[in-house]
Symmetry: D2
Subunit: 270 residues, 4 copies
């Protein structure tokens, strides 16, 4: 803990606030929604307009996709970034997207309002250092194998480079359970909020891998104190090029969005 000077709270109510578009991480319940992968402009615009109507604050979408198999769809790359940015602009939404290669950091920063570092790259230290110098807010996902302390050390790497705008994200850890894609470790939300001043969001789409569990686990995340949610939404989940089983339809997201914001208000009142 001596080695976590920057990430740890200095006092009980030490909190970091990060403004992106109209939303403020640390104050609002920030909803980031959109497709797993950007597949075409039409798809991106359709989803962007739908999630905006449903109350999303930020559009998410993958252009550079880390895929288990080299034969799977790897994302549209720079074209995907352009589409994402344009769809966000049409819908009036800032955008978040993942960077997987240090050499693409500058490129991604030209398009993205928030830089996402995915679970597989949580300990990609050169990427963390670049993120610490990139001048954009960064969302750092917890690796599927990381303890709380390892995760906080990765956050420290980014803060140490001078970037104060860091958002933490629980997205499920790997356990023996195979019914869910990962095991969403919601206990880490209140634990992180006790220990650090950083906003903490939750990704129940990857955390469960099952569309029917996304809404209940989103509500549970809010109850546990989450500052935001990252939700996969697709105009037609069954035809998606990645993560079919876990993406919500626009209607399902609209229902979720309304409920989690009500829940946020409820939990602020008790």
């Amino acid at each position: 803990m001596d080695d976590l000077n920057l990430v740890m709270k200095k006092s009980g109510n030490d909190r970091t606030y990060i403004n992106v578009g109209d939303a403020c991480f640390g104050r609002d319940l920030v909803l980031m929604a959109g497709p797993c992968s950007i597949e075409s402009y039409q798809q991106a615009e359709t989803v962007a307009l739908a999630v905006r109507r449903a109350g999303a604050h930020i559009l998410r979408g993958g252009a550079f996709k880390p895929r288990t198999s080299p034969y799977s769809f790897q994302g549209l790359g720079q074209e995907g970034l352009e589409i994402l940015k344009a769809a966000g602009k049409t819908a009036g939404l800032p955008v978040i997207t993942e960077v997987v290669d240090v050499r693409d950091m500058e490129l991604v920063c030209r398009y993205a309002d928030i830089i996402q570092i995915g679970a597989r790259n949580m300990q990609n230290f050169p990427l963390l250092k670049e993120a610490g110098r990139c001048g954009r807010p960064v969302l750092l996902k917890r690796s599927m194998y990381a303890t709380l302390w390892e995760y906080l050390n990765c956050a420290e790497y980014i803060l140490l480079e001078g970037n104060k705008e860091l958002i933490l994200c629980e997205r499920g850890i790997r356990t023996f359970e195979t019914y869910t894609r990962n095991t969403l470790d919601l206990s880490i939300v209140p634990a992180l909020k006790e220990l650090t001043h950083l906003p903490v969001v939750v990704d129940p789409s990857h955390g469960t891998g099952r569309a029917s569990l996304v809404e209940p686990m989103s509500l549970a995340a809010v109850a546990a104190g989450a500052d935001g949610l990252l939700i996969e939404v697709h105009n037609d989940p069954s035809s998606a090029l990645s993560d079919r089983s876990q993406q919500l339809t626009s209607d399902e997201f609209a229902s979720l969005s309304a409920k989690v914001q009500k829940a946020r208000i409820f939990f602020s009142s008790i």
Copy 2:
């Protein structure tokens, strides 16, 4: 799944209701609270009255304790059962307690309103069979290493012996994370409620092992759809003979109790 005839839902709204005292599992948010171990009559009565005032429906307390070390306090045995029963009577609360030995089933049934089978005994098949014939409602905890399917098979063992009054309970699984005592797998709550007709409760005390995380995870459990909570409460946690770091004070429990019941009402309304 062919082998889970009894445990699986026959239709979407197939639900089992279990009445114990004034509470109904499957309809109410049932709060079971009390000390990890029964240590003395005075302790048990003090806690029983306090949790009753705070809104608990059922008094919990261990008389036969499964302990990692043979040199740890093993519980008061039959004397503990007598104390638990008497303290419950004084407070007007039914009681739940664990049975760890098939040979004690009859004895425990003379005192307990609900029989608890602990995580370490989830696959103690002779004990499951006796529980299936014991004539009392049974609360079966998920083992720290059980998949959802293994857990449901253990439930099937009990139902197959004719006992229809079975309550499931998530209490945390074992993972690589050491910050929390176990990893509370809340995703299994909506998953179990989709699949089975049985009530599902959550034990955030063992699930986290940290008193400060019990309230947020209790709220998260309610948000995820839990039908009840099992909470360790002690008159003086720092002097407890077992599980010191995770037991709540009576005041902390009273705060939790009020909040979770409000949350239950809120979630029923959205």
Copy 3:
């Protein structure tokens, strides 16, 4: 470690020797082989004679089977014990079999030369206490979720009741890896042999769940210092009533047996 007085070594070369039939645990490489379940006298005798010819010292076979599903074959019970004993007698082999119910301890002790406590019952403390008083050598399997320290505490439970003839057994732990049935944790073999005076054997059949991996992992176990092996052998694995994919044929066992004994001699010489 203060609480492990009986299980820990008093000095570097403190070792427990346990004689069963012609074999001595702690001195010889003891081979225990036989079917997962006793299915009929003919099956048991066929396998018993085959494994005896191939060099096994002890016949294994399940009469009381702990099965995940209540609808799976549960073993022949007392009839299975009788068959096992008779087949062992015909082949001139002592027998090892599992006890799963404290109420059966006396019965099983009438037939078995070694009492096995299975992985699911490692923390069935009443069963451990009975095993500590049963007057027979006991083989205690490590649970699939047990740390080394938890496992040693369970061994301490048995020694504390007065039984000095205890054999430890690694049989694989549960991890995220699904290619193998469990993850055989061979590092625990030299770790246990550094810490305790007890013999340590390995069960590569359950540890891997794949017949083709049993021989290489048996050799690895010997290299790591194991005092014996527990191997599932069936006259016709494809028709077995349980654990088909991991049982060896008699010929495969004969090959394994010859190689591991050569390996034992080799490792004693370097």
Copy 4:
């Protein structure tokens, strides 16, 4: 498996041989030894000469170190590469070292005879692609959270870029067990050798994290069919700048080296 065309065996005896210096992966038991981190020329030369005398074929040493904390020693970088290369030259040994940043691939290739990709970067796909084009043999470590199938997919990424000289390496997976640093999953050695044509080596230093377990687990790895070992050796482990508890002294390595080569000959003969 359809997606693993390059990594899978075409026939039972399909094997890849990789020559580095005097050693041939796939034919010899190749010993790679040296310090965790390169700390100074003197340290590197001392260890290099010692491991050479003891029978090592290749010198290992870290110049770019992926460290959990940003405040830990991060390696000497290019200076470390120069020292490693010079020490290898003095001792007559080829060298292996880790690359952690795609931008350093060319630099590292100027010094290293084998490029190592560490466990934390197993799914750093840009790094895998560069490794596939780097023109050097690559040693790809299995991540602490990777299933066999995920690991093979990462190997496929490298082969698909045209590099045929790939060595696999088991170095322990993350489980609940904390006695050892990781859980060395030796079963994956015979599993990988059944499935793929690639050489498979084992790193028992990281796999166990305890010096006293390195020799028995090295012997076990050879028994399981490993094609080589990666061993941390330090001139003075107690003063090492990283991984103190798991580095062997030169004398311990000399003992290990002699035994594993005898074991290799023994296992080739049975």
